[in-house]
Symmetry: C2
């Protein structure tokens, strides 16, 4: 805790190292003794909790309820939906035994070979299979529909190359799983939840996102359609931030979930699923932070305002303490989270650097001259601008400033994305532009083969076919690689 | 949903069957396709969420923060603390492989033998080992202490005989893990958290509990002392509702976690851990519910007030709707959660039975005569008493009624416990009393051997050595079985 703060790698020098440094030094997360699994540290978890609370409120406002389904899934369940098992089999953690025992040679505990499971169990990589096996018993008639369940849970995908928050073997997420009587209703639900995610990303994370539908190659294993929100990180790479899937009747058929419809006929149930994960922490960090550390949008900052006294002697500190006490009260009454750090075991300079590193949106410093003048020094983390303000009316000003910072962060990120979204018409230009990074709007002939070839040759993928586009992008053209007809431009990028 | 409600088994006929019926019929939880793992259904989960929120607030008020540690624990970690591995080895789910593949004979997916882990991983049965391995890197000096972390997580203990909520292979819980510079501070923390649990049990669950310390036989595997809160269920059996452990330096030694103390000397860190789980749902159900279904204390009820209209024709419904609308607004403004159920696909009688089954604390019925008289019919779930009340001042009355119900449930449960806590001085009387159920205060010679023999012969265990007891119970006596000297009475019962 009291260790000296070391400098972050600069983004310009090594973006990837900067990210790692930042996650570690801002006390957000760290690697653990278990390959690919992270420890989310208290400060990182506090941000995740704010995300959770907000998302949970938004899910409930749209009529969803929470439930909890088992961590373990029988191996045979995974095989029921052909695409699904194809997508997840290669990264499943498998439970084969249920007991340890002492080795007879005294060498320690070993797995008890007598305690082998008849059927292996998989740690959920996602829960469609166990949930649809459960829904089978919940659904008889259209009167039992819709079912609008969400679950907050840990999941596991045995990734070979992991990065804190962005790609870890275990991660935390929410997964919504809904069941509907009609195709139209399920499609509308999948779209609705994508917009909830986009709303959250833009209005709470201050991160602009492109909403669209995935190409077949990038679809969720088992989905008919996958909707996505895509963010653009500061290094010009895209990050998939959340997905919502229209699953058609695929899982209902795999688990034989039928209902009696209003016409009194048996029909398979229609499904959606949708999820966001601790990956959003990575998105948040990479959208706003700078070479001084984390920059947090006020709506997700565990501490929105920090107050630091600069004083000589106990008498002066006491005067500042008294003055600050009333301000803290006023801020709290406005629902603003504030920390008064008058600890005496750290120098003010250390505190300044530490709270900058932690991304606290507003810093207030009060020194002896401020006492005399009835002022404070205010610094906003997003621009690092300082101003001296009168103590009078300060709480109102801070409330407004927090709103302004929230909006400014969004505008700045939007501006960056707009500057880095380029239309390209030839494959040469496409490859050249990719080196600079950013989103690229280009024509594609609509075939998985062409997409695959582009990916192999350039490492770029189709991030989505955006819902919204300008007139020109919606006009037909020719595929930049094959010259075949294209219906419209789609969004390419290299991605995390 | 629209299926007819079937009668519950009566408590007097078969208490165990009544419990199971109730959990299923009130839509709290159900068994899953995975042996011993439950599905927590939305209504059950909503109650658990209310518990979580309240406990989380109480943890934060006492200075704790949340974090998240890996689901999987290397097998070797478990062995580092001798008692710990002894306690948990027999019920560990073991991950041995990280990939599936298609069988070459086309028979489906099989575990890929190439993907065997070098060291097996255990699904956490509790997280002391992985957390203390992590704390090692967080702690250098006394300035880094205390660490006051909590985690909300799922854990797994491969139980052979499972019961919904009470004993399941996977369950949800919170586990606090704290690190301290002194023995005294750690002991005080373990006690403090036990009192937080007791406060929650008594003031939110309306469940009186006995606070005390466990005998050596019943101690947590790896603890120096285990503190417990013990509830008495309606069938006369005890239920351990939460435990808090003073771990001494056991885990610090096992994971070599030392710090430089204020005297500049290396010292092992002092530890506590404490947890409550979804087992509290079982405690809640068994403390208050009756032959009509669930009875929920208002502070934990997802729906505190339900309003049901009885009407003939749309015109009358419209009049009731209007009248109810203002009441709903008033109740919500008071922070009371209210549901107006004017659905027309269920008869009022069905609704009455359903909300009784679900334990909604207050039911309001409004019919045509109520419209004329400006009244409603009010029923409280705890006593099933009905009264007719004027519509005027109704919201205030309901707010008071909810408080009264909360207090009444506690008093009723306390009265039951007091009537069923008996002092016994001979082994004959002890055995006879056990058949009637309840808590028994008896003398014990303090040896594990005697406790073990009593357990074998009677299935009763020492639930705890209570912190508080009357004068007489604190006097020396003779062990009822061995006749050896006893320092004081301790609390026996048969337990879940």
């Amino acid at each position: 805790m009291a260790k000296e703060l070391k400098e972050l790698t600069k983004r310009g020098e090594n973006y990837s190292q900067w990210y790692n440094d930042l996650v570690l030094k801002a006390d957000l997360a760290e690697t653990s003794a278990v390959r690919g699994c992270m420890v989310i540290k208290p400060y990182g978890y506090a941000i995740w909790e704010k995300m959770q609370r907000q998302l949970d409120d938004m899910f409930k406002e749209t009529g969803h309820v929470n439930a909890y389904f088992p961590l373990l899934i029988p191996k045979s369940f995974l095989s029921r939906e052909a695409d699904h098992v194809e997508g997840f089999a290669k990264e499943c953690a498998v439970v084969t035994h249920y007991r340890l025992k002492n080795a007879t040679d005294g060498s320690g505990v070993i797995v008890d070979p007598q305690a082998k499971l008849e059927e292996e169990l998989i740690i959920r990589p996602t829960s469609e299979t166990i949930i649809w096996n459960t829904y089978k018993n919940w659904i008889n008639s259209y009167r039992d529909l819709p079912i609008l369940c969400n679950q907050w849970a840990n999941v596991m995908r045995w990734e070979m190359r992991t990065r804190l928050f962005l790609r870890t073997a275990e991660f935390l997420w929410q997964e919504g799983h809904t069941a509907h009587a009609t195709c139209e209703e399920a499609e509308a639900e999948a779209e609705r939840m994508l917009h909830v995610y986009a709303d959250f990303a833009e209005n709470f994370m201050a991160m602009p996102v492109i909403r669209g539908v995935k190409s077949a190659n990038e679809r969720f294993a088992g989905a008919v359609d996958t909707y996505t929100i895509e963010g653009l990180m500061q290094d010009g790479k895209a990050l998939q931030c959340g997905t919502s899937h229209f699953l058609g009747q695929n899982f209902a058929k795999a688990f034989d979930v039928q209902f009696i419809n209003k016409e009194n006929k048996q029909e398979y149930v229609w499904a959606t699923s949708w999820g966001v994960s601790t990956r959003l922490m990575g998105a948040l960090i990479m959208t706003h932070s700078d070479d001084n550390g984390l920059v947090l949008p006020p709506k997700l900052a565990p501490i929105q305002v920090v107050i630091i006294p600069i004083y000589k002697g106990d008498e002066q500190l006491k005067q500042i303490d008294e003055k600050v006490e009333s301000l803290v009260k006023e801020l709290k009454a406005k629902g603003i989270s504030v920390k008064y750090d008058n600890s005496d075991n750290k120098r003010p300079g250390f505190k300044f650097a530490d709270y900058e590193l932690k991304g606290v949106p507003v810093r207030i410093v009060m020194g002896s001259r401020d006492l005399e003048n009835n002022t404070v020094e205010l610094m906003r983390r997003d621009t690092l601008e300082k101003e001296t303000r009168s103590f009078n009316g300060l709480a109102e000003h801070i409330a407004e400033l927090l709103e302004e910072i929230q909006i400014n962060l969004y505008k700045k990120a939007l501006n960056y994305r707009e500057l880095n979204t380029i239309k390209v018409d030839t494959y040469e230009d496409f490859k050249a532009q990719l080196e600079k990074g950013g989103f690229i709007l280009a024509h594609w002939d609509g075939t998985p083969e062409t997409e695959e070839r582009i990916k192999e040759e350039t490492k770029a993928t189709i991030r989505c076919i955006p819902f919204q586009a300008d007139e020109e992008s919606l006009q037909p053209g020719v595929d930049m690689l094959t010259g075949k007809p294209s219906q419209r431009r789609v969004l390419f990028a290299r991605a995390y």
